[in-house]
């Protein structure tokens, strides 16, 4: 399958939306987010397992064997398992209405290489030239294949690590108690929610027609936790000087990172053409981008300064 795909490796890319041919990714199915590793294993399992009525191992030497051989309890278990299967189907059908599970899966399709490169980009975004997200047949490529795509893995992990590091910092200052940990988590989450709501409101007010979804926004706003963790850890090791140095560096990096990423999303038309069209409207959007980027260092400082003494 791979060899046939690689034969068409010379396909040129369109300039407008950076569509990449399937062969460049080396995937058999272009819409597949994760590698399919199920086939080899399940064949092995199917050959080994005896087909008992419920898939339980028929080890009849134990007293459980006598329990399973009773026809009434067999029927009861069959009925119970069919009920459970029905319930699972119902939940699977309806869960997509409340939590967009399939959309969320896209944001967690990462691998170690992507995480490493993205962390490097968050700490040093100055040399990266191409910030545009690659598309494939109108859907964004999974984060594994494109370093510019937003993901939720790094923000989620960074958030949890931030809470743990906050607990550590409070512990070294003899100020720790378990409910303080919950308070830190709740406070950081509340600031994140407030930021997302404020940005959504301002995007609505300036009528920016972007393809920036809410989850994208949460992902971008979650990247600042990485800098915060770095700052607090340095502050624990080297005191206030280390904290201010590393925090200052991370603040500037996040500022540049956010501006370069959001510019392509919010100011899409102007950035692509390079010519300012309808100046007043683009000016508003530029101010919005700058305000969002400037709020990141402020929040980074506000959420960490009380942890370093």
């Amino acid at each position: 399958m791979h060899s046939a795909g690689l034969a068409t490796a010379g396909t040129p890319r369109q300039p407008s939306k950076r569509r990449i041919p399937v062969s460049h990714l080396g995937m058999s199915d272009p819409h597949q987010l994760f590698d399919d590793t199920s086939s080899a294993q399940s064949r092995g399992y199917g050959a080994q397992r005896e087909p008992s009525g419920l898939g339980y191992p028929t080890a009849s030497a134990s007293p459980q064997g006598a329990f399973l051989n009773d026809p009434v309890s067999n029927m009861a278990m069959a009925y119970g398992s069919s009920l459970a299967a029905q319930g699972k189907e119902l939940v699977d059908k309806n869960i997509d209405r409340f939590i967009p599970v399939t959309k969320l899966k896209y944001y967690f399709a990462v691998d170690t290489l992507y995480v490493g490169k993205k962390l490097g980009l968050l700490f040093f975004p100055y040399l990266h030239q191409d910030w545009e997200v690659q598309y494939q047949q109108d859907t964004p490529v999974a984060p594994r294949f494109d370093i510019n795509a937003p993901d939720l893995y790094i923000p989620a992990m960074a958030f949890i690590t931030y809470i743990l590091v906050a607990g550590l910092a409070l512990g070294t200052q003899e100020r720790f108690s378990p409910d303080l940990l919950g308070l830190q988590a709740s406070s950081a989450l509340a600031w994140l929610t407030l930021e997302v709501l404020a940005i959504l409101l301002s995007l609505y007010l300036v009528t920016a027609n972007t393809d920036l979804t809410t989850i994208d926004l949460v992902a971008f706003l979650g990247y600042k936790y990485v800098g915060m963790i770095g700052g607090v850890l340095m502050g624990l090791l080297f005191g206030k000087i280390g904290y201010y140095l590393v925090l200052g560096w991370c603040c500037v990096s996040i500022f540049v990172f956010m501006i370069r990423t959001l510019r392509l999303k919010i100011l899409a038309e102007a950035a692509a053409e390079g010519v300012p069209v309808r100046g007043a409207r683009n000016q508003l959007r530029m101010y919005l981008t700058m305000a969002v980027a400037a709020a990141q260092p402020l929040l980074m400082y506000w959420l960490t300064f009380h942890l370093v003494r």
């Binding site: 709740s186 406070s187 989450l189 509340a190 929610t193 407030l194 609505y204 009528t207």
Partner: protein, 82 residues
């Protein structure tokens, strides 16, 4: 650092209440933010002021009845649990 999710919810409830209380005739028309004064033809860009007026009007229309319910629940909870 007492900024919790619960206080965010309370603040949001108070803000939505504040928007819902703005009276159309006595107040909004007097400061030029009435709903019939904003629509400036079929221009491409609505502009911030008309977007804001649209937002206020939609919040007032949509949240009138749910706010009654949410406020009653909040009042009962605050009475019981302080």
């Amino acid at each position: 650092m007492a900024f919790t999710l619960y206080s965010l919810l309370q603040a949001a409830l108070l803000c939505v209440n504040a928007i819902a209380v703005l009276h159309e005739e006595r107040f909004l028309k007097n400061i030029g933010w009435g709903t019939d004064q904003g629509i400036g033809g079929f221009g491409e860009e609505p502009g911030i002021k008309s977007q804001l007026m649209n937002l206020i009007r939609s919040v007032r229309t949509v949240m009138r009845v749910p706010l009654i319910v949410i406020n009653s629940v909040a009042i009962v909870l605050l009475l019981l649990f302080g």
